[in-house]
C-alpha cells in the first residue's frame, strides 16, 4: 500500500509537470502526425498494407523516444534525483511512477495516431491495438530506465536513443508480427518481453538512481 501511494504521488507529480509545461504531449502528437504524413509519401502506391503497418510501428517507437528523451529532464535540471532518492520510499517507485506517466503520454499520442493511421492508410485489427498496448508497457519500462541512465552521464539525452533503440528491436518485431500474421504467437512474445524487461528494469533502477 505504501508502495502504491508513493508511486501515485510520483506519477501525479509527473502528470502535473506535463500539465504545466505542455511540452511533451503536444510534441509527441505533432511528431507522430508528421511522421505518418511523411510515410504516406515514403511508401509507393500499391505497396502492401504490411509495409504501412511497419511504418506505423516505426512511428510509435520514434514518438515514444521523443517522450522518453524528455522523461528525466526535470529531475536532471535541478539535481532532483538527489532529493528523491533520499526519501524513505523504495527507489523503484521513482521508476514506476515515471513509467506510468510515460505510458499515459504514449497512450494519448496513440489515441490520436491510430485513428489517423486508419484514416491515412488502412484499417487496424483489434490485435494490432492490443499489440500497441503491450508494446507501450515494454517501451515505457525500458525507455524510462535507459533515460535515467542517459541523464547520469555528460552526454545527457544524446545517448538515450543509442541506449534504447537496440533494446526496442524485439518490440518492433513483435509488433509487426502481431499486425501482419495470424495467431497469438507475437502477442505472447510481446507479453514475454514486457515481463522480462519490466522485472529487470524494476530491479535495476536502484543501482541507476544513486551510487550509494
Amino acid at each position: 500500500m505504501r508502495y502504491l501511494s508513493d508511486v501515485a504521488a510520483l506519477t501525479r507529480k509527473d502528470l502535473l509537470l506535463e500539465l504545466r509545461a505542455k511540452e511533451t504531449i503536444p510534441a509527441m502528437l505533432l511528431f507522430v502526425l508528421s511522421a505518418l504524413t511523411i510515410f504516406h509519401f515514403a511508401i509507393p502506391r500499391g505497396s502492401s498494407d504490411v509495409a504501412a503497418l511497419g511504418l506505423l510501428w516505426v512511428a510509435i517507437v520514434f514518438t515514444s523516444l521523443l517522450g522518453l528523451t524528455r522523461a528525466f529532464v526535470p529531475e536532471r535540471e535541478q539535481g532532483l534525483m538527489d532529493a528523491l532518492v533520499l526519501a524513505p520510499c523504495d527507489r523503484s517507485t521513482i521508476w514506476l511512477g515515471k513509467t506510468i506517466a510515460v505510458i499515459a503520454f504514449l497512450g494519448i499520442a496513440e489515441v490520436v495516431a491510430l485513428p489517423a493511421f486508419t484514416l491515412f492508410f488502412s484499417g487496424l485489427t483489434l490485435k494490432t491495438v492490443a499489440a500497441v498496448a503491450l508494446a507501450d508497457i515494454g517501451i515505457a519500462a525500458v525507455g524510462t530506465l535507459t533515460g535515467a541512465m542517459a541523464v547520469a552521464g555528460r552526454a545527457r539525452e544524446l545517448i538515450q536513443p543509442l541506449l534504447f533503440l537496440p533494446l526496442s528491436i524485439p518490440v518492433i518485431v513483435g509488433g509487426i508480427g502481431a499486425s501482419a500474421t495470424a495467431g497469438p504467437k507475437f502477442l505472447l512474445f510481446l507479453a514475454l518481453y514486457d515481463t522480462v524487461f519490466v522485472l529487470l528494469s524494476w530491479a535495476a533502477f536502484d543501482f541507476v538512481a544513486a551510487e550509494a
Binding site: A152, R154, T181
Partner: protein
C-alpha cells in the same frame, strides 16, 4: 608462449580439413561467434558480481570482457559476411540469424561504450555499466527469439544451414578452433586487464608525486 600455441593451432587446424574455402571459414566464424557470446556472458556475470557482491574488481573485469566481446563480435560480422559472400554471393544476408543477432548486439554494446565514456569513472559508472551489461545478456535470447519469429513475416522460407552433419575430423578441428578462440579470449582478457590495472597504478603514483 600462449600466443605460439594459438598460432600453431590456428594454422594447423584449418589445413586439417580438406573442404573448400567456404567450409574453412566456418571454423573461424562459428567459434568466434561462440566466443563472443562467452565474452558477453562473462561480462554480465561480472556485472552481476559487481551489483550483488560489490566485488571491487568486477567492474573492470566486466568492461574488459565486453570489450573483448565487441572485438570478437566485429570479427563475427566480418567472417560472417565473407562466408555469406562465398556461399550466397552477397555480403549480407538477413536470413542468417546469427549474423543479424550479432548486428543487434554490436549496436547494443557500442551503446554500452558510449554510456561508459559519458560518465566519469567512479561507482556510478560501474553501476550503470553493470546494469546495461545485464540488459545485454537478457537481450541476447530475446532478440534471438525475435529474429527467429521475424522470418514468419519477412522471409517466407526459413533458411537452415546444413552444418550439422560434421565428420569426426571436422568436429575435432571445430573443437580445437573453439578451444583456441577461448584461449585467445582468456589471454587477451588477462592482457588487457593487466594493462588497465597498470595504467591505474601509474596514474595513482603520478597523483602521489604531485
Amino acid at each position: 608462449m600462449f600466443a605460439i600455441a594459438i598460432v600453431s593451432v590456428f594454422f594447423w587446424a584449418p589445413s586439417d580439413a580438406d573442404q573448400g574455402l567456404s567450409q574453412r571459414i566456418f571454423y573461424f566464424h562459428v567459434p568466434i561467434a561462440l566466443t563472443g557470446y562467452a565474452c558477453f556472458g562473462w561480462g554480465a556475470w561480472k556485472a552481476l558480481r559487481h551489483l550483488w557482491k560489490d566485488d571491487p574488481n568486477a567492474d573492470l573485469e566486466s568492461y574488459v570482457a565486453i570489450h573483448q566481446g565487441v572485438i570478437f563480435g566485429s570479427l563475427t560480422l566480418i567472417t560472417g559476411s565473407i562466408w555469406a559472400k562465398i556461399s550466397w554471393g552477397v555480403w549480407w544476408v538477413w536470413s542468417d540469424d546469427q549474423l543479424v543477432l550479432f548486428l543487434v548486439l554490436f549496436l547494443f554494446y557500442c551503446a554500452y561504450f558510449m554510456l561508459r565514456y559519458s560518465v566519469d569513472p567512479g561507482p556510478q559508472r560501474a553501476n550503470l555499466s553493470a546494469v546495461y551489461a545485464l540488459f545485454g545478456v537478457v537481450l541476447i535470447p530475446v532478440s534471438f527469439l525475435a529474429i527467429r519469429l521475424s522470418h514468419s513475416f519477412i522471409h517466407p522460407v526459413v533458411f537452415t544451414r546444413s552444418g550439422a552433419q560434421m565428420t569426426g575430423t571436422m568436429l575435432t578441428t571445430f573443437c580445437i578452433c573453439l578451444a583456441a578462440m577461448l584461449v585467445l579470449f582468456v589471454t587477451l582478457y588477462q592482457l588487457e586487464l593487466a594493462g588497465k590495472r597498470l595504467d591505474t597504478r601509474i596514474r595513482e603514483l603520478k597523483e602521489l608525486l604531485t
